[in-house]
């Protein structure tokens, strides 16, 4: 089971708590986790990635085990600690102040 931590507004939108748990079929890559997340919570389609190109929205980042995977390709294999649920895969909104 893969744990995914969502930013506040996406939790509100999906009506979930801070984390969701996903059963990812096949190889648990970065793209597969996002595909599964969107399949389980269709309301999130278009809010993390572009509907068609699947390009990451500019002000979101993907963190895993202290690493920034935001610029990595979708077929990137996630770290073992993410696959085993020890750590959560984090979707993070950019900081904005002022």
């Amino acid at each position: 089971m893969i744990r995914v931590t969502l930013p506040y507004h996406l939790r509100t939108l999906a009506r979930v708590s801070k984390e969701v748990e996903l059963q990812v079929d096949g190889l648990a890559t970065l793209g597969a986790v996002l595909d599964t997340l969107e399949a389980q919570y269709p309301v999130l389609r278009g809010t993390i990635r572009d509907h068609v190109t699947h390009e990451r929205r500019p002000f979101l980042r993907f963190f895993a085990c202290g690493e920034d995977l935001s610029l990595d390709p979708p077929d990137t294999r996630l770290p073992e600690a993410i696959l085993t649920g020890v750590e959560s895969f984090r979707i993070v909104g950019a900081m904005a102040g002022g």
Binding site: H9, L10, L13, V43, R45, H51, F59, L60
Partner: protein
């Protein structure tokens, strides 16, 4: 309920203000979609409990929300706005061509007869239609074929912000784009043509009378006279008596003819309202006095409406979609400010009262008259 429901979109959420027909005591509900920008909310004329809201942020993009109970509960519907075919390019700030890129929905216009049909005006400027209550959206690509390669963004983005459906002819619609101008379709949205003859943009365009490129800020129409249109342009208040085929200036004695919104009285088609702003460089009222101006002659002769409005030290703006009217016997006028106030007049603008003082900056105000 016999009364008024005001749909207020702000920088940080949506609010719904309701009152009975006396319009003296208001209930304020919200924020809905807290923390998100609500560029526009609008109700279906065919079913007043069917509402649509445009919800967006720079982080998470665009959502469309729908309510079937007058705004008590909401559900997200479709948010995929894909341009038809190859999107093509438009004029960019440096004169080069730039690809069309969807950014947000500025305006929602439900059909006058079908609650499930709704039009969306978007940035980068294009028109979309849904016929399934907002679940799916299809572009009306004929609009961008109307010299779209010559359109360019204003400072606020290249946005389709105004949609007017002609109640006498379901095939006719008007839209306005900053900075492209006004456009009309006579065949339900397949073919469009610019209707900017008579507009002059002396400071903004190399050819002041160009067919497209004008920064139209807002257009208003009285439903009983759909051939008569009123326009607040970047500079100039304009009028057309032939459905946009030609325009003439009616700024008259306004202290400034720069501004954003324009509205028509519900029962007097020659009574119109604007909120003059000092200039495109200083987006606040002249002399720090918040004044709505009313013309009872369809333009040219204007009177300042000040009773109940701040007449010193006021430096808010009133944005293009933030002025609206109800259709009760004594016509109500409403507007919201970038300072978070929503003002109401239950006597056609003679006197004003703030309904609420401290909302986030108001982006849009729509009014439903509930009978």
């Amino acid at each position: 309920m016999n009364g008024v429901r005001i749909l207020v979109g702000t920088r940080k959420g949506a609010f719904i203000l309701t009152s009975d027909a006396r319009r003296e005591r208001w209930d304020i509900n919200g924020p809905y979609f807290a923390g998100w920008e609500i560029y526009h909310m609008n109700g279906s004329p065919a079913d007043p409990d069917r509402l649509y809201a445009s919800q967006s942020t720079g982080w998470f993009g665009q959502l469309i929300q729908r309510s079937n109970d007058g705004g008590q509960t909401w559900e997200p519907v479709g948010n995929q706005f894909a341009y038809d075919g190859v999107p093509g390019t438009h004029q960019w700030y440096d004169g080069t061509q730039h690809p069309w890129e969807f950014k947000r929905v500025w305006s929602l216009a439900p059909s006058l007869t079908d609650p499930d049909t709704v039009y969306a005006g978007v940035e980068d400027a294009a028109m979309f239609r849904s016929t399934d209550g907002g679940q799916t959206w299809q572009e009306l690509p004929g609009l961008r074929a109307a010299k779209g390669h010559l359109w360019s963004p204003g400072a606020g983005g290249m946005c389709l912000h105004t949609i007017i459906l002609d109640p006498s002819d379901p095939q006719r619609m008007f839209i306005a784009i900053s900075a492209a101008g006004a456009f009309r379709t006579d065949d339900g949205g397949q073919a469009w043509r610019p209707v900017n003859n008579g507009l002059k943009s002396n400071f903004e365009l190399p050819d002041p009378s160009a067919e497209v490129g004008h920064c139209v800020h807002n257009i208003a129409m009285h439903p009983a006279r759909p051939g008569v249109l009123f326009m607040q342009k970047h500079w100039d208040v304009m009028r057309s008596d032939d459905a946009g085929d030609s325009w003439r200036e009616v700024s008259g004695n306004l202290p400034s003819d720069f501004g954003f919104p324009i509205a028509v009285h519900a029962h007097e088609p020659e009574t119109i309202y604007v909120v003059p702003i000092k200039s495109d460089s200083e987006h606040f009222p002249p002399d720090g006095k918040l004044r709505v101006y009313r013309s009872r002659t369809g333009g040219n002769e204007w009177e300042a409406l000040t009773k109940g409005l701040p007449q010193r030290d006021c430096y808010v703006n009133v944005l293009r979609s933030a002025l609206a009217v109800d259709s009760l016997d004594s016509c109500g006028i409403y507007f919201g400010t970038t300072g978070g106030q929503v003002y109401a007049s239950a006597d056609s603008g003679d006197s004003w009262t703030p309904i609420v003082h401290d909302l986030p900056a108001v982006l849009s105000v729509e009014v439903q008259t509930l009978l």
